[in-house]
Every structure is written in structure tokens, then in C-alpha cells.
């Protein structure tokens, strides 16, 4: 407790000084610190020094945060010890720590794809990346041409991403609804911006950003309104307190007695919170933003968003349902059944007709959200471990797949239309084989990480009594397999089009990103035991 507080109040008990455990919060603090350092670098360093310093700051920050996660885990946090930090606002438990580790690794790989400067042709004599020269310039205007000629680059993407990562670290760890909302906004706002920063096809990119922002703002508003209603019901925003009120374990006060007679506040509040979170994971019927945003955003951002947002949002979703609403399981499970079924079926069926590889991957990510939801619904310990493992497996396949997309290019930038991928396997067999591996992992073919993950969630769902979900999941997997295979056919068995795209030779950054994706995909497929153990040994959610 600081000195002036004690002196000012005299009665220090009425104003408790916030107690902050800096050590345990260090993963988030390091990342936010790196983000601030990035902003300062952006402001004070000369233009030509910015790129390398930003890449260095971002990678160092992420590595530092990951080290902090490892240190915390080695102290037993997440497996044998759990804690509530920052006056109960943040949880330090197994799922939180595991997902923070995954998000950080995902972010490292994503930053590597951001840093790629070899595939885009030089502008103004200097190598440039996938991001716009000057975001404020009107697309196609004279000011933009001048910026491109001058070789400008938007190096602010790195600190923006770091802020997003910080928010994502907080999101699955947030132990009260307000912290959760703040985390949601902290990672969403930079993402809206990042979506608008594509160097090519700027109008599409800006349209994507506006769509994402408008719909995301609605979702946030839903979430906030749900928080308010639940506060009205339970008199607290703490997840554990809400659970106590629902189960009737909380001491009955006059205020509580008057609100808890009416379940409307509770149920509507829960529904609104779910809308906010299901929007972020891209579950049907809150999925419609996904294809447009995935298509329009710069591809490295899409990869980051598709992987990391999903990890963070599923973490928060599970914490919400498992900590605050276990007592309402019989109310929310039927609804989530419906959502999961719709998500799997709609994602798989709509993907069949897609003609753009980024939209295809977007619909595939919707279908995968459905598969993950079947594990969430299991509400058993196996389900928790299975979802954690699935998120780990899925995010690296996604990152790798989008990294491959950045390399297939024609004169107008990335050639994302599927027809231009025809015969890619004949001209560039290695890249096509890698992409085929990622597609097979998405399809859940054995000996890839996708299969292990799918097996784990379906097994948990079946053990949790959700056999119909498993059957629907299996059938929509078959539909999904169809469109993954369609791409493989196109790459290997179709004749290349004249004037089709070329495959850019990437720098070590993207090559590393793709290589990590391949390694994780095969590693988690062939020898998954270590990570399955890690995911299944995590402690349950702390209250």
C-alpha cells in the first residue's frame, strides 16, 4: 500500500489500494510494453530504421512474454496452482496459461509473415511488405502514388498487432465481465484497423474493415448490454459471483431477493453475452462477416486473425460457460447444440461453392468453429483438453495455409481466385504439396494434426452424451472434405492456365512460418502425446 493513500484517507480500509501481481501478469505486461515501445519507435526513429526495429521489438516482446508463460508454468501455475490476480479481475489457471502460450506462438509466426518483404515488387526502389504505403491516402489518388514512389511503409502494423495480442492474452484470462469486455475491445480495435491496411485492392480492404468494425461494434454492444443485465441480476460482474447467485449459494440480500425472482434478466443477459462471443468465434448465425473480412484483409493479418482470435474467443467462451453458467447448463446447452450444428453444416455447405481461396478458408474456419463447439458443449474435462488441443492444432494449420496464399501471385498481387491455382502442383510441386498437407489437415485426414484434434473433440462430445452432434460433425466433415479435395484436384490434376500466377520465392521469414506450420501439422499428427498430455493436464477453470 502506498504511502500517500494511507496519509490521504487516514482510514485506508475504505479505499483499498489495488494489489497487482506484476510477476504473474508479466506475459500481458511484456506484450503491452513492447506495443508501447513500438509506438515510441514509430514516433522517434527515422523512417528507414523503423522496419527492422519494429520487427525486433515485436519478436523480442513475444519471446519475452512466452518465456514468462513458461516460467509461470514451471512454477506449477496452470497445473497444480491457480490464482486470481489484480483483485480477482484476471484468472491465472490452466486454460488461460495454455491459451496464452498458444496465442504467443501464433503471434510469433504471424509477425514473421508480416515481416515478409521479398514477395511484393519493390516500390520506390525499396522492398515493401503487404501493407499500405500510407493508410490515410485516398486509394488510387495522387497522394497514394506519391507515397508509393517514396517507398513509405506502414510499420505501425507491428505495434497494432502487439496491442491486439495483449488483448487476446487478457481475453481468455478475464475473470469478470468488464475485464472481458475491455480485453475484447483492446484486441478488436487494432484488428479493425489492420484489416484496412492492405497494399493491393485497397477498396476491398477498407470495405472489409468497415464491415468488420460495424458488425463488431454491434457484437460488442450486445456483450456490454448483456453485462449490464447480468449485473442487474446478480449484483456483480465477477464470473464466480454470478455462478453463486445462480446456484443460490450467495448470501441472500434484499436486493438479490428482488432480482433473482425474475430469470428474464439472467437469460437475456446470457444470450446477449453469447452473441458477442459467438460473433468473435465466427459461429453461425453470427458468421456473415467472416468471408468478406478474411478476403479483404491483408493476408498475413487474415492468418493472424483466423488463428489467434479464435483461440482467444473460445477461451473466453469456455470460461464464461464453465465458470459463470455451469448451473444453467440445461438452458444453454440445447441452444449451443443448435449453434454448433448450424455452424458445422452451414460452414461446410457454403464452402463448396466458393471460388476464392481466402473465402474458402473463411468458410472452412466457420466449419471448424462448429467442430470446436462440439467440444465446448461436452462440458467435461476431456472436452476442455480436447478444445485446447484443437485450437493449438488448428491455428498453425491456418497460419501456414494463409502464408502459402501470400506466395501465389500475379501482376495484380495475390492470385486468390481458385481458377488461377489450376496446375500449381505441376509448376511448383513443393508449395502445392505443402498446401495440400494443410488442406488434408483441415479435412482431418489421419496422421495430420487435424485428425488428432477432431478425434479428441468428437470423443469428448460422445463421452459427454452428444452423439448426434458427433454424427453431424462426421457428415459435415465429409462435405468439407469435398471442397478441400477440389482444391487439391485443381492444383495437381488440372492443366495450368496460360498467364497464370507465379510462385514468389519468399524470404526466410515466410519460409520459417510455413515450415513451422508443416512441422506442427505433422508433429501433432504423428506424435501428439506430449501436447495432448499438456492440454489434458491443465487445471480446471479457477473461480
Amino acid at each position: 500500500m502506498s504511502h500517500w493513500l494511507a496519509a490521504a484517507g487516514g482510514n485506508s480500509a475504505s479505499i483499498p489500494a489495488p494489489h497487482v501481481e506484476y510477476g504473474q501478469l508479466s506475459p500481458m505486461l511484456v506484450v503491452f510494453g513492447a506495443a508501447v515501445a513500438g509506438i515510441l519507435a514509430e514516433a522517434f526513429l527515422p523512417r528507414r530504421a523503423r522496419y527492422w526495429s519494429q520487427v525486433t521489438i515485436a519478436l523480442l516482446g513475444l519471446a519475452g512474454a512466452f518465456t514468462a508463460v513458461i516460467v509461470l508454468a514451471s512454477q506449477g501455475y496452470g497445473s497444480t496452482r491457480v490464482d486470481l490476480l489484480a483483485m480477482g479481475a484476471v484468472a491465472l489457471d490452466g486454460p488461460a496459461l495454455f491459451l496464452q502460450g498458444v496465442i504467443l506462438l501464433v503471434a510469433v509466426v504471424a509477425v514473421l509473415t508480416y515481416a515478409e518483404r521479398k514477395v511484393e515488387p519493390k516500390a520506390g526502389g525499396v522492398p515493401v511488405d503487404a501493407f499500405v504505403a500510407q493508410a490515410a491516402a485516398t486509394p488510387g489518388g495522387e497522394q497514394e502514388r506519391a507515397a508509393v514512389r517514396a517507398g513509405f511503409a506502414s510499420t505501425e502494423v507491428f505495434p497494432l498487432t502487439m496491442f491486439a495480442v495483449g488483448g487476446m492474452l487478457l481475453f481468455p484470462a478475464a475473470n469478470d465481465l468488464l475485464t472481458m469486455f475491455v480485453a475484447l475491445e483492446v484486441f478488436s480495435l487494432p484488428l479493425y484497423l489492420l484489416c484496412a491496411l492492405a497494399r493491393r485492392r485497397r477498396l476491398l480492404s477498407q470495405e472489409a474493415a468497415v464491415k468488420y468494425f460495424l458488425l463488431g461494434a454491434f457484437a460488442s454492444a450486445f456483450f456490454l448490454f448483456g453485462t449490464a443485465l447480468l449485473y442487474g441480476y446478480a449484483g456483480s460482474v465477477r464470473l464466480g459471483d454470478i455462478a453463486d447467485v445462480i446456484s443460490g449459494e450467495a448470501p441472500a440480500t434484499q436486493a438479490l431477493l428482488s432480482t433473482t425472482q425474475n430469470d428474464a434478466l439472467l437469460l437475456i443477459g446470457l444470450a446477449l453475452l453469447s452473441v458477442g462471443l459467438l460473433f468473435k468465434v465466427g459461429a453461425v448465425p453470427f458468421h456473415s462477416w467472416t468471408p468478406d473480412v478474411y478476403q479483404g484483409a491483408p493476408t498475413p493479418v487474415t492468418g493472424f486473425m483466423a488463428a489467434a482470435t479464435k483461440v482467444a474467443a473460445f477461451g473466453a467462451l469456455m470460461r464464461l460457460f464453465y465458470v459463470a453458467f455451469p448451473g444453467l447448463r440445461w438452458d444453454w446447452r440445447p441452444v449451443m447444440w443448435g449453434v454448433a450444428i448450424l455452424t458445422m453444416v452451414v460452414g461446410a455447405v457454403l464452402a463448396v461453392t466458393q471460388q476464392d481461396v481466402k473465402r474458402l478458408l473463411a468458410y472452412s474456419s466457420i466449419a471448424h468453429a462448429g467442430f470446436i463447439l462440439t467440444g465446448v458443449i461436452a462440458t467435461n474435462k476431456q472436452g476442455l483438453g480436447a478444445v485446447l488441443f484443437y485450437l493449438l492444432a488448428y491455428s498453425f494449420v491456418t497460419l501456414g495455409a494463409f502464408a502459402v496464399v501470400t506466395l501465389v501471385r500475379d501482376s495484380r498481387g495475390e492470385a486468390t481466385h481458385l481458377s488461377s491455382w489450376a496446375g500449381l502442383g505441376r509448376r511448383s510441386p513443393l508449395l502445392a504439396a505443402v498446401f495440400a498437407l494443410f488442406l488434408l489437415a483441415f479435412a482431418g485426414i489421419p496422421l495430420t494434426s487435424g485428425f488428432t484434434g477432431k478425434f479428441a473433440v468428437f470423443q469428448a462430445a460422445a463421452a459427454g452424451g452428444a452423439t448426434p452432434l458427433v454424427i453431424i460433425g462426421v457428415l459435415s466433415s465429409a462435405v468439407a472434405a469435398f471442397f478441400y479435395i477440389r482444391v487439391i484436384v485443381l492444383m495437381f490434376f488440372s492443366d495450368p492456365q496460360p498467364g497464370g500466377p507465379t510462385v514468389a520465392v519468399p524470404s526466410a521469414f515466410t519460409a520459417t512460418a510455413i515450415g513451422v506450420g508443416v512441422l506442427v501439422t505433422l508433429g501433432l499428427g504423428l506424435l501428439p502425446q506430449y501436447f495432448l498430455d499438456l492440454a489434458s493436464k491443465v487445471s480446471p477453470f479457477v473461480r
Binding site: P446, V470, V474, I485, L532
Partner: protein, 543 residues
Amino acid sequence: MSYLLTATCAVPAAGAVLTAALPAGTDDGRRRVTKIVALAVSLATLALAALVAVRFEPGGARYQLTESYSWIRSFGITFSLGADGIGTVLVLLTAVLVPVVLLASWHDADPERGAGGTADPATFENRRRTQAFFALILAVEAMVLVSFLATDVFVFYVFFEAMLIPMYFLIGGFGDRAGGPESARQRSYAAVKFLLYNLLGGLVMLAAVIGLYVIAQDQGFATFDLPTLTGAVADGKLVVNPTAEKALFLGFFFAFAVKAPLWPLHTWLPNAMGESTAGTAVLITAVVDKVGTFAMLRFCLGLFPDASKTFAPAILVLSLIGIMYGALLAVGQKDIKRLIAYASISHFGFIIMGIFAMTSQGQSGATLYMVNHGISTAALMLVAGFLISRRGSRLIADYGGVQKVAPVLAGSFLIGGLATLSLPGLAPFVSEFLVLVGTFTRYPVIGIIATFGIVLAALYVLVLYQRTMTGPVKDSVRGMHDLKVRELAVVAPLVALTILLGVYPKPLTDIVNPAVDATLSQVHETDPAPAHPVAATPGGEQK
């Protein structure tokens, strides 16, 4: 613990990797190195398989030479291998056929001779084409061997599914030179059809595998170990309620029936066999499809004895329809390879009928049938492939009078054909007779109707021979050269085996019969009361 079984599976797997990694090139020297390495690997595998057969003691334990390694502990999965009598003969069949197929396909992957490549031999794809083809065949062999030897349900499932991927590339990427301008499209259609049918079957089986695990786990058997599970089922320690058992049986059986293939799930086979090279077609029908019928014996009957008995009559009817339908369509075919494919569908009907007749003769006959059908179809199909490679057409109408120009080729074709129609004295006769007798003792009507399948077989084989080989020499056939040394080396072992096993099947029946008796005792089934008239098989005497 011996490492023999692992070595038998690992040698072709390592060989596949090695073959794929050999230096690329368009010159014949480089290619020949690849081919010789692949052939040497397959011969080494044959030697190991022969060692397995020698070490196997027919009167010994059910599973011998067993090995077990921890793989995924979280799900109770061990990498367990073990040879039983049925598996051993099928391992031998696979190990014999693969070198033969490699030798027969010697030039199929040369860009200037086989179809499916682009015209320019210098493209990357064409430079690696030979390596890819031979590596894929070895990969399929490795996966098939694991499937025949796996005593862990999960391990079996993984390899049962994973083998689809190399198979898919073999079908889609390599065709015979008979293809017209449409052939690339038709081939990729055939490959996709193959994959989707089998993937759907596999995914349905996945749901059943998960269901089995969850049910077993509830009763304290958190394992996929087949002997443990079948033992527990037989002792009544693992009780599956009848509805669930039926559902699980259907899940497993569906996958195997697609693979086998059983009418009405057969439609992928004529496409796949027609469009691929003769070697690939043999690999499909003689090796890969056998995994389906083998798995019916090992998994369906062992794990779900009651459901197997419940569904046996229905399956017998389907197999009967398959026998007649396949034979009738074979009679009407204009394309030689499709004719052989429909003949195979008819034969798979016999195999499945023998399995589900639930008599010792029926099942011994079915197992022998798998071996004999493999050898005889390989002979017929490979000689047909040689014929097609000479003329560049698959149409029966394009041939006539070949026996005057190429008598050895015609003679080999005749022996393969006579074996296919089960001429007494050749191997398939023994097995077909056993299947029919075994079926007749329990289901006389079905046995009698099935006998007409033999008549139809005589019709389609003899008409095929008559139209292509006899009669006036067609202009298109004039100047056709006879079998070369390499081709003779392909045909000779197959013909020798056909005759040898027709005259003296005892070595095989000795190995197979105890395993069949063990399988039958799992379903609590004994042969019908009156002593059956077949004294030739030890299986009958041991009753």
C-alpha cells in the same frame, strides 16, 4: 519382443521416402536407378513377409509375433501389431503382388509413354514423375501391411484412412496411354470419386470407433487393443446394448463395404480401375480392397458378434445381388479394364458371402478367395495392361486375332481368364467351391442362386477372350509383338501360383483354418449339424 512385423511395415515406408528422395532427371539412367531401388525394397519386403509366414505357427496363439509400443496414451492407443492366420496370408499376398506390380508398371510413369504428364519432359513434374509413382506404390504397400497386422482398432483406422491419399494421387496422376483428350478429366473424376466414397465410409467408421471407445471406457476398458476388447466382449465383461451394437456394427461395416466394395457402394471401382494404370488397378482391387473384406472378418465379427449375426442375412442378400449385378454388367462392358472391374465386384460378392455365411468352409473359402482373386485378377489385369499398352486402346472392339500374332500374351490372358471363371485345377476354383458349399449348408437358396454367378463368369471371360484373341487378325493388331522378358517375369509367378494353389492349397488352408475357427467361435457360431461333405479341408475335420 521381436521387431519382425514392424520391420515388414517399415521397410516399404522407408523405401517410399528413399525413392521419393532419389535425384530427379529425365534420362533413362536416373529413372532406372529409381525403379531398381523400388523393386529391391519391395523384394526385401517380400523376404520379410516370407519370414513372417515361416515363423508363424498355425497351431499357436491367435496373434503371434506381437509387438506393442506406446503411442497416444491419452486415448489408450498403442501401436500394436500381431499376425493371425488370415492377416499372414494377406501380408504374403501383398508382398508378392507389389514387386510384380512394380515390374509391370516399369514404364508407366515415363512421361513420354504413360498418360497424365505434360508433353514437355523437362518440367519439374515430369522430372520427378517416376520417383513419385514408385514411392506412392511403396507407401500404399506400407500402409496396407500395417492394416493387415494392426491389433489396435485406432491404428488400423488411421492407416485404413491414410492409405487413401497415396492411392488418390496414383489414380489421379497416372493413367495408361489409352486415354483420349478427355482422359485427364475422367481420371481426376475417378480419383475424386474414389476418395469421396472411401472418405465418407471412413468418417462414418470414425464415429463408430469413437462410440466404441466411449462405451468401452464407461465399462473400464479405456483401450483400443483388439484382443482385449474382443476378449471382453466374448467373456461378457464388455456389454454393449443391442441398439448401440447394431449402430456401431453398421458404422464399421459401411466403411468396409465401401472399400471392398459391396453392391450398392461399388460405383467408384469401375471408374478408378478403368482410368488408372493396370498396375494401379491391381493395387486397388487385389491389395487395397482386401483390407475391407479382411476387416469385416477381424473387426466386425470379433467386436460385434451379435450384430453380425443379426445383419448376416441382409448382407448375404446384398452380396448375392453384387455377384449377379457385377457379372451381368461385366458381360455388357466394351472396355477391357472396366470389364475386369465389374468381374471383381462380382467376386467381392462371393468373398463377403463366404464371410457372412458364418460357416468354417465359407470363411476359409472367403480368405482363400481374397488371395486367389488377388493373384488371378492381377494376372488378367496386368496382361490386359500389356495388351492395351501395345495398341493404345481399352476397347474390346479394337482387338481381334491377337493369339495368332502374340501367342504367349494370349495364352497368359487365357490362364488369367480361366482362373477368373474358376476353372477346376486353378486356384480360385477351390475357394469359390468352399464359399458356395459353406453358404449352401446354412442358406441353401442363396447358395444355389449364387452358383449362377459362375455361369455368367464363364460367359464374360470367354466372350472377352473370343472377341480379342481369336478370329481374323485385325489390321490394328498386326505387327503386335509378343511378351518381352520383363513382361514374362511379371506373368510367370502369377501363373505358377495360380496353378500351384489350385492343385495344392494346403499350405494356405493350414494357416487360415485355425484363425477362421477362432473367428467363428467369437460369434458363438458352429457349423450346421449334418457333417458337411467337404473332407478336403482340415477346417472341416477339426470340428
